[in-house]
Symmetry: C2
Subunit: 490 residues, 2 copies
């Protein structure tokens, strides 16, 4: 099975597509640009969901649910927002089908035209702030710290599984605050939550930054982001957190009585991560043999494969496998015992490698006799014979070792693919090779856009902890006060 994967070297993009399909993560549906997330892929998403959801709740947030549809007129209320989203949205115009009077099956009933068209939400700021207007009267009603887990639709023309799909799953936090400072602090706090999640759970090292004006979310005053480096040298934005100022409060007339008994507009943030993280996860760790999953979010952490020829052997091996399974499970590990008799061990080995299971235990008749098991690590592809004495403790410890190893490997890769560059020739050459390019910027959108035009690289972020330095813009030659990060990106 794994042999059928295109290698990364050969064609990285094809490798990714092959892997998503062959590891049973997702597939295209009959609806253009919409994916089916298959059970194995969805199980990984569920671990992401559960970990994030707990982090949100631990930081005082609650979940709620807002409508799928947004009245068209809501989009016109915030000028930047409509520019950002109007060009790629699904529009509901009718609410009924009927039998075609000419006998051509089912057609839209023209008499069921909506008075106002509805947009399938591409993001929910507008409908949520329309709702918040009724929830907020005074400073006592603030802050509001809501999150929503939902599907959203953006009518992308070129789609790729997980990375860019017309429909995707995400969470969107929408908070309301009495002061600017509190809202800014919230936006940054959630960036911190995303950073911790990406690094601790997904083992993906990320840079924390803030977007240039040109790359901001439509309607935001500040867009914070986490950015990761994929194995092909392209950057991937893994999460964003926006300080929205009072833009949406003004657009939807959301005011509160402050402690001085004066009316003021409410301050806002929004922040989100999506099933795009599945793409980041895949491209950070996987290899030419298939998926490599960090143990924390692996649906199966240990797979046990029995090896036998005779029936007697099968009985003895089976008993040992079941014993180990229950010992490992008692330790809290997620274990699959692959006792299918329709497939040979070699086939199973390949299949679970392809699916990225962190640890494989193979048990044969000799292992039963000698009290051993053959342990194979997916991250290093190494094998060793291990005593079954306290195997559950050793395998549990190994999970942490693997988790850290994957993070370290990705961190080394990212760091060794981040380059300080000081002149335009080097800049162009390095962008062509890939990686983050760290270079002086004069602070203008003009320069940023010209660089994009000439190299296809975008200004990924200004580091959150940027130092003021004196230098010269790598492209324009004008004075510059800081270095920023450029890359080609997903």
């Amino acid at each position: 099975m794994a042999k059928e994967l295109t290698t990364r070297e050969e064609n990285y993009s094809q490798w990714y597509n092959d892997l998503v399909i062959k590891a049973d993560l997702a597939e295209q549906s009959a609806v253009r640009g919409c994916m089916v997330i298959k059970p194995y892929g969805y199980a990984i998403w569920e671990f992401m969901h559960d970990a994030l959801d707990k982090m949100f709740k631990d930081t005082g947030h609650v979940n709620a649910y807002f409508p799928l549809f947004i009245p068209k007129s809501f989009f016109s209320r915030e000028a930047d927002h409509v520019e950002g989203f109007a060009k790629e949205c699904a529009v509901v115009t009718h609410h009924r089908l009927m039998n075609d009077p000419n006998g051509n099956g089912v057609v839209v009933d023209p008499s069921a035209k909506l008075e106002e068209e509805l947009i399938v939400r591409p993001t929910s700021e507008t409908i949520i702030w329309d709702t918040y207007r009724n929830w907020i009267k005074s400073y006592r009603d603030l802050p509001i710290l809501c999150n929503q887990w939902a599907n959203v639709v953006r009518w992308e023309m070129r789609t790729r599984l997980f990375l860019r799909t017309a429909e995707f799953l995400w969470q969107e936090g929408h908070t309301a605050h009495a002061t600017k400072e509190e809202a800014e602090a919230e936006a940054q706090k959630m960036l911190g939550v995303y950073t911790e999640f990406a690094e601790k759970w997904l083992a993906i090292p990320v840079y924390q930054g803030v977007k240039s004006a040109n790359e901001r979310f439509a309607g935001a005053l500040n867009t914070y982001c986490i950015e990761a480096m994929m194995q092909d040298g392209k950057a991937l934005q893994a999460g964003t957190s926006h300080f929205l100022g009072q833009n949406f409060a003004k657009a939807f007339d959301v005011k509160y009585l402050n402690k001085e008994n004066k009316l003021d507009y409410v301050w806002a943030t929004s922040w989100g991560v999506s099933t795009r993280l599945m793409g980041a996860l895949i491209m950070s760790h996987s290899d030419d043999d298939g998926l490599v999953l960090p143990p924390h979010i692996a649906p199966i952490q240990v797979v046990i494969v029995p090896i036998y020829k005779s029936d007697d052997q099968r009985v003895a091996v089976n008993a040992r496998c079941l014993e180990l399974k229950s010992r490992l499970e008692a330790k809290g590990l997620r274990v699959k015992y692959d006792d299918r008799d329709t497939q040979k061990p070699g086939f199973k080995f390949h299949e679970w490698e392809l699916k990225g299971v962190p640890v494989r235990l193979a048990i044969g008749p000799r292992d039963v006799e000698e009290g051993t098991a053959e342990l194979a690590r997916r991250d290093t592809m190494t094998k060793e014979s291990l005593s079954i004495e306290n195997i559950e403790g050793n395998v549990a410890d190994l999970m942490d070792v693997i988790q850290k190893n994957l993070y370290q490997k990705a961190l080394d890769y990212r760091n060794s693919h981040t380059y300080d560059v000081d002149n335009w020739e080097d800049f162009k050459a390095q962008i062509e090779k890939g990686g983050f390019v760290h270079a002086f910027w004069d602070g203008t959108t003009e320069t940023e856009l010209k660089i994009k035009e000439e190299t296809k690289a975008t200004l990924r972020f200004i580091p959150l902890d940027v130092k003021e330095e004196t230098g010269v813009d790598v492209y324009s030659g004008k004075p510059a006060k800081m270095r920023v990060y450029y890359a080609k990106a997903y």
Copy 2:
């Protein structure tokens, strides 16, 4: 606050609407028929989700995610299905907005018309069976036991929060099997899961039954259901599980190679429960003081309210409350300490009664001295003074007592509102008064529809364990072989 609730006696329907709003469960949105599920309401739904999800996984099911949109032509493939859903669906016809050339804001871009319209899923049989065609080759690929948590849209003309909304949240299980027997067994198994969930978690007693042909799901050969009795004497269908035969396999050409190496169509089931359960929960237990929540799904199980006048008292009471809070939490209870200094205890008492918190503990200075707390039960509205010695154990035990009491109360109500009726005059009179009417049926749709026409009662279900008896149809006077259940219903 609670005083503003309409009483059930006065106007049951208004009582329900008031309660949903005032207990902060949900509200209408700016989009016709679509609700906002507020954080407190959503938290209850999350407990329902988590409990059900575990039960599904424990019975071998996995989650997946299928597209929100369904190509219009898919609906025509299964004749009954299109009849059932075409009349109430949201139709996407365009994929872009644009600025009105006449300056009237944003309008639909006529050049972005879709070649084929997309329907926002009202249920996902069609798109899922279109997908299953590629997943199923032989009997080795079966069974497929998928569930999906999703939003769906049915363009209802008359909507009510939770009970009937244009968009709602639900889960839909879709399974594929090699044999008819296995599919039938699956449909019945999931009915059992729903029954256990309704009774053990929601404390709602339900009858298990099968629908008459006339009330079947569009495309099903058999629709199993659980039916509950609300406090106004109306029935509520709380969940359904469908045996779909080979209808969808035939419509989407899903065949498998059986063990005899012959091609055959695959057998199907689907089953679902929705946010409608929130309505069932509210109407089963709540009273004129507000919501009454079974402890198993109460977001807050115990609220602690401090009572003090002087500052010294505040300090002592606060310390005791915090101590009790952590002792209760250590016991696994979900505890809220309401230490707001902006509201008086009486206000808090009413608010938490309105929100249905099962147990309230009030602690005053005398309680601190005497080592007691005042415990109030929401289900019985009784109060007692309790020693704080092992209070965590006693309160934890009380949760089970309350859970069982709510179930028993609802069961007694349901049983005392189920009537055996043997003639048409009694039938009409009883239906008018409310409750389930258990009467002989001649087995014809004709009789069923006439009864509906004359009384607005529907044939709710044929009991799963129906006994064959000899009798006379209560309406037609024709020979009848069994008694079935009628009621007016939500």
